[in-house]
């Protein structure tokens, strides 16, 4: 797709609409080939899952004592990815952060698809997936109910609440923009957007209720996002397993989630702005600020790694110390050090303002962060299970092709859904960009000055 017409350094509301709506025009063959490629990988993963359901979990590499491995790693990874979307859309909204307006829709969309991907993994992990509803309380003839003291039950509530609230918050933000798209579209697209816009007209009555509800939804989503990854971390911390049973898990996981999520936002946005020709709406100023969030959370995560090691040493529990010794220097020790390199060392480059606005360099750093954060979850989850209390139980783990392909399929599913969204619905919030147009103008001026 050709680059969008350059907008002036003093863009008007109309320029914003034109740039965003242009992305939603019918796509070419290359786009559909990409979508086809993504969903072919998804189909392969789905076929392998069907085989797993038919045959049983024996087709995976899960063996005692490592009964949680790649699937649960993927679950935690994708829930973590989701968090930055809510951070940007809700928390930064409450802080009235100026640079969020251009990036929040893409980040929030990422949240929805990341939670939708994450939600699949507890199901994929189940031996008898058709009994997934056993985690929910429902009337049954034997009065058999889930145990609300179990973090797995909390997880079912937290993740489903997160998906619902994120989807509602996202939908609310989309409605005025879709109404804009409705006015610009023709043919079947006009009908499609007319239905989705639900008759939105931007009257004072509508905006009055909308603004209040949006503020309150942001207020509800803010503690929710912190609670969800805390609950996910308690899936581990509530167990007495060495390597898991730690009080720092909730803040540690939340910081890691935001770290990985913002890195993923950058990973997606850098190619997207070029492919969709929206360089004028997503400027270096936006990436500079996103990179600062990555840097800050990287430092928090690094601090958590150090604290974790210190607590293990200071507490003096030999089994815990053994687990950590295995984590650092055992057969999978290389994974830990790759993780340290990716999550603690590489992001230090972002202290340099030049690297923060060098989008190629920034993209590479965020790819490292994505890899590092996946490794972090794997090291904590599967790594801690290999060396348990009883040395006689110790065993390794080797992922099967089913697990690997389902993981690849989950990435394809996420990227495919995001790609589909980016061409059919407004990937940048026109309404909010117009509200903060002063800041977009400043960012563009800075960009042009740097380029000159």
């Amino acid at each position: 797709m050709a680059a969008a017409p350059k907008i002036s350094a003093e863009p008007s509301y109309r320029d914003i609409d034109r740039s965003v709506l242009r992305v939603m025009e019918p796509a070419g063959l290359a786009y559909w080939a990409w979508i086809g490629f993504c969903f072919t990988l998804v189909a392969i993963a789905a076929a392998l899952w069907a085989r797993q359901i038919y045959t049983g979990l024996g087709v995976t590499g899960l063996r005692q004592p490592v009964m949680w491995a790649i699937y649960i790693t993927n679950f935690v990874f994708w829930v973590g990815i989701a968090h930055s979307g809510t951070l940007i859309s809700a928390i930064l909204f409450l802080f009235r952060t100026k640079w969020r307006t251009a990036v929040y829709r893409a980040a929030e969309t990422m949240t929805i698809f990341a939670v939708a991907t994450a939600g699949l993994f507890p199901l994929i992990h189940l031996g008898r997936v058709w009994f997934f509803y056993w985690l929910l309380p429902y009337p049954n003839e034997r009065s058999l109910q889930p145990d609300f003291r179990s973090p797995l039950v909390w997880d079912a509530f937290a993740v489903s609440t997160y998906l619902t609230i994120s989807a509602l918050f996202w939908t609310m933000g989309l409605i005025p923009d879709i109404a804009n798209a409705r006015e610009a579209a023709s043919g079947w697209r006009k009908k499609f957007y007319t239905v989705l816009a639900m008759g939105w007209q931007g009257t004072d009555r509508q905006w009055r209720h909308y603004s209040m509800a949006y503020l309150l939804m942001a207020g509800l989503a803010t503690p929710l996002v912190l609670s969800v990854h805390s609950v996910v971390s308690w899936d581990f911390a509530m167990a007495i397993n060495p390597g898991w049973h730690s009080t720092i898990f909730a803040p540690y996981f939340v910081a890691g989630a935001i770290f990985s999520g913002v890195a993923m936002v950058i990973t997606l946005l850098i190619p997207m702005r070029r492919l969709l020709g929206i360089e004028d709406l997503l400027t270096e100023w936006h990436f500079d600020n996103l990179a600062k969030v990555v840097l800050l959370t990287s430092l928090v995560v690094s601090y958590a790694y150090i604290t974790e090691a210190f607590m293990t040493w200071y507490a003096g529990d030999p089994i815990e110390q053994m687990t950590f010794h295995m984590r650092y220097f055992g057969p999978w020790g290389w994974m830990y050090w790759v993780m340290v390199l990716c999550n603690c060392v590489m992001p230090l480059l972002l202290f340099s303002p030049r690297i923060r606005v060098n989008l190629r360099a920034l993209w590479i750093v965020t790819i490292f962060v994505n890899i590092g954060m996946w490794f972090e979850r794997f090291v904590i989850i599967a790594g801690s299970l290999t060396a348990n209390f009883e040395p006689s139980q110790w065993a390794g783990y080797r992922p099967s092709i089913t697990e690997i392909m389902i993981t690849v399929g989950s990435f394809a599913w996420f990227v495919g859904l995001f790609s589909l969204f980016s061409r059919f619905l407004p990937i940048i919030s026109m309404t909010e960009l117009k509200e903060g147009i002063v800041w977009l103008r400043k960012a563009l001026k800075m960009d042009r000055a740097t380029a000159a």
Partner: protein, 169 residues
């Protein structure tokens, strides 16, 4: 006497808010505004109270907490599971469920509340609605008797309206 709709458009919300103030000063109350963004200036000029959607969200949140307590306490007594000799009603973990349901129902109520109060979904467009008002123009549509139309048009023009059009309502 027949009723007419006077449709006026403004380049920004300051002018639009100014026109609203002038209309109110001229004792004109039956008007509707359209804008591409939510504007505090317009909201202040119209002078309405805060949206009642906040009470709906509060009701949803309270209902969520109560639902959380009912589910956790109710099911615990229905399925009496002795876990490690702990009291049957070991409530601290229930806070998680109550919190999640508070957010869930608060959010759902908020969404449904805003839909209900702002009259969406609807298939009927308000008189005078124009696609420009979603893009970059701020609109005021006044419904009035034909006899009063000339006076109101003058108020709108003097407040800086770019365009004033009269339509039969």
């Amino acid at each position: 006497m027949s009723t007419v709709a006077i449709i006026s458009s403004f380049a920004d919300d300051t002018q639009c808010a100014n026109a609203i103030e002038q209309l109110r000063a001229a004792q004109v109350g039956d008007f509707n505004t359209f804008s591409p963004i939510p504007s505090h200036r317009i909201e202040r000029a119209i002078g309405r109270s805060k949206s009642p959607v906040r009470w709906i969200v509060l009701a949803g949140g309270i209902l969520g907490v109560l639902a959380g307590l009912a589910i956790t306490i109710g099911t615990t007594y229905e399925w009496r599971l002795n876990a490690g000799g702990k009291p049957l009603l070991s409530w601290p973990p229930f806070i998680v469920i109550c919190f999640e349901l508070m957010v869930l129902l608060g959010g759902i109520f908020g969404f449904l509340g805003v839909m209900m109060l702002s009259g969406v979904p609807t298939t009927e467009m308000e008189p005078g609605y124009d696609g420009r008002f979603g893009e970059d123009r701020f609109g005021i549509v006044v419904r009035c008797d034909e006899a009063e139309a000339a006076r109101i048009e003058l108020v709108l023009k003097e407040s800086g309206a770019e365009e004033v059009v009269r339509e039969g309502a």
